[in-house]
């Protein structure tokens, strides 16, 4: 450890420390403080202890948003992981046009979710929507419309959420599938294992590390859902699709109740931490080394 290296190191770090310190670390600490105040557009910050947090526990709107967030995240994550694995298994085979299919599945991930949600809003429109029309041809009726029907609105934003990020998880699974040693599959073939047994006894256990990573990344992403909900339903109908981040936006930037919004954002942090810890603990028991 030399002094010249120490000096150089801090010079290299200085710009990032300045930016992250001012615009990330300070706001994180400040949000924690504000969450214990009644700060709003109308009045300056005044310490009110844990009142915001006890309000969240009894506030039907906050409970609804937490419930919606957990429902959205659970369904979207489980469906995404399962579909990503199935599609990755397909795209791992050799067949014509495979690279086109790989790009097509991945492209939703790189384009703007809010912009493509505009397209989704037209496709799901009750009167002129192409998907509404195609659905009615095969007997799927949307009633007042996919985004207006209180029961179907959540399904719709979940479908769009799955569609957006699936390609990313497919690529992660493809990478893991390609890293499975071939001799393990060949040995299973020699032992007379059919495709189904090979999948459950060789492929699936060897993918468990990647499944953990995909599940964690998907959960973290899905707990923070906002873009397509903002464009498609604005949290409606009747707050049925209002997730925590949508509520933080509404409370913080439309109602300008900064203290309450800050407390809600720490509830988000808490949920993320609990979910991640549970997942890591669950998968750690099952992790396989090879």
């Amino acid at each position: 450890m030399t002094t010249s290296q120490t000096r150089a190191a801090w010079l290299f770090l200085a710009p990032s420390v300045l930016v992250l310190g001012t615009f990330v670390v300070y706001p994180i600490g400040r949000a924690l403080y504000l969450s214990f105040t009644d700060y709003s557009l109308l009045r300056p910050a005044r310490w009110i202890g844990t009142k915001n947090y006890s309000a969240i526990v009894s506030d039907p709107a906050a409970r609804n948003a937490i419930k919606n967030t957990l429902l959205y995240a659970a369904v979207t994550t489980i469906a995404s992981v399962a579909l990503a694995l199935i599609i990755a298994l397909l795209l791992n085979q050799r067949f014509p046009f495979r690279s086109i299919a790989r790009s097509a599945v991945f492209i939703p991930f790189i384009v703007s979710l809010s912009i493509v949600s505009i397209a989704w809003s037209y496709l799901l429109d009750p009167d002129i929507g192409l998907l509404t029309y195609w659905g009615s041809k095969v007997g799927i009726s949307a009633g007042q419309g996919f985004l207006v029907n209180p029961n179907l609105a959540m399904v719709s934003v979940i479908v769009v959420g799955i569609w957006k990020y699936l390609g990313f998880y497919v690529v992660m699974y493809l990478a893991a599938l390609q890293s499975i040693p071939r001799d393990l599959q060949e040995a299973a073939v020699m032992d007379g294992a059919g495709p189904v047994r090979r999948f459950f006894n060789v492929t699936w256990p060897l993918l468990s590390n990647q499944t953990m990573l995909v599940a964690i990344i998907a959960t973290i992403t899905n707990v923070q859902a906002f873009d397509q909900i903002f464009v498609l339903t604005q949290g409606g109908p009747f707050f049925r699709t209002e997730t925590l981040v949508v509520m933080i936006y509404r409370v913080g930037f439309q109602n300008l109740q900064f203290g309450y919004a800050a407390a809600l954002s720490y509830v988000l942090v808490l949920i993320l931490m609990i979910v991640s810890l549970v997942q890591v603990a669950y998968f750690r028991r099952k992790a396989v080394q090879y």
């Binding site: 990032s16 949000a31 085979q93 299919a101 790189i110 912009i115 397209a119 990478a175 464009v231």
Partner: protein
């Protein structure tokens, strides 16, 4: 499930021919399934592309169709007149471009210090970076907005850009990459008396090109596409970026939908093109995320 083995374990030529035929039937089925899947995934984008060439009566006619009944290019000229499209485009390009370039430079500088230099406090800095990675961006929204408001930077481009000049994820990502590089070259340069800055610029940075390319595309698309940050930092649809602006314009009742579609297509194109250019290194970047 595993396709290669059916081709591989064919011993007798006669049996091989049978298997070869089965193999191609199987391939055809896979290709058909994969192409239907591709169509389903691309449908919203394909629909949007066609919609941008339609007139309003065509777009709202019943029954709805995927293909236009008649084609018009009018939306692409009107978008520049009916919306402040050029202004939004310029904002988005400056915002995403500046954030990308600045983050790549500042992140890799910080990562170089953390990965290649020995100094007091190194582990504390790294620990803070890990904590920041675990916290969602939304937790900073309220205080960040108030801070930018007090600095007079709300509704300005610098206000959008400055908080994102550096990024904890990029520091972590580049640190992991730098840790994997051999030490010989930089040790030789150090013995020759080269400064740390020179080693960083001339030895380490050139080796990091693939990682920087992947991270760069990640930043560019992330900020180009971002909705919530531009949305809260701009008080009207005209001063923000394309995703925020177009989402808000689309919500207005007196808007020409064909024009919004044209604007949307023009917003998607740069990111898709960029992706197709650097596809390989980007996908490899994702693929290696889990293994490091």
């Amino acid at each position: 499930m595993v396709a290669y083995d059916s081709a591989r374990f064919t011993a007798a030529p006669s049996k091989g021919r049978v298997l070869l035929r089965r193999f191609s039937v199987r391939q055809t089925v896979f290709a058909l399934v994969a192409l239907s899947l591709s169509f389903a995934f691309m449908l919203p984008i394909i629909w949007m592309l066609f919609a941008s060439f339609r007139t309003i009566p065509d777009l709202t006619s019943y029954p709805p169709t995927l293909l236009p009944h008649s084609w018009t290019f009018g939306n692409y000229t009107e978008v520049f007149r009916e919306l402040p499209f050029l202004h939004l485009y310029q904002n988005t390009l400056l915002y995403a471009g500046t954030v990308t370039i600045s983050s790549l430079v500042l992140d890799s500088m910080a990562a170089y210090a953390l990965a290649r230099l020995r100094f007091r406090g190194s582990s504390v800095v790294f620990f803070v970076i890990i904590i920041l990675l675990m916290l969602p961006f939304q937790v900073t929204l309220v205080p960040l907005y108030i801070l930018m408001h007090n600095l007079g930077l709300v509704n300005t481009l610098p206000g959008l850009i400055i908080p994102r000049l550096s990024n904890a994820f990029g520091i972590f990502f580049m640190r992991q990459f730098f840790l994997g590089l051999p030490h010989d070259l930089e040790d030789a340069a150090r013995i020759d008396g080269a400064s740390e800055w020179r080693i960083f610029r001339q030895v380490i940075a050139p080796l990091a090109k693939p990682a920087l390319l992947a991270l760069g595309l990640f930043y560019f698309q992330g900020n180009w596409n971002d909705l919530i940050w531009p949305l809260i930092m701009t008080s009207n649809a005209r001063d923000g970026t394309l995703p925020a602006g177009l989402s808000l314009f689309n919500g207005q009742h007196n808007i020409n939908y064909g024009v919004v579609m044209a604007g949307s297509v023009l917003t998607l194109i740069p990111v898709i093109l960029l992706f197709l250019v650097v596809q390989k290194s980007f996908v490899q970047g994702i693929a290696t995320t889990g293994t490091k």
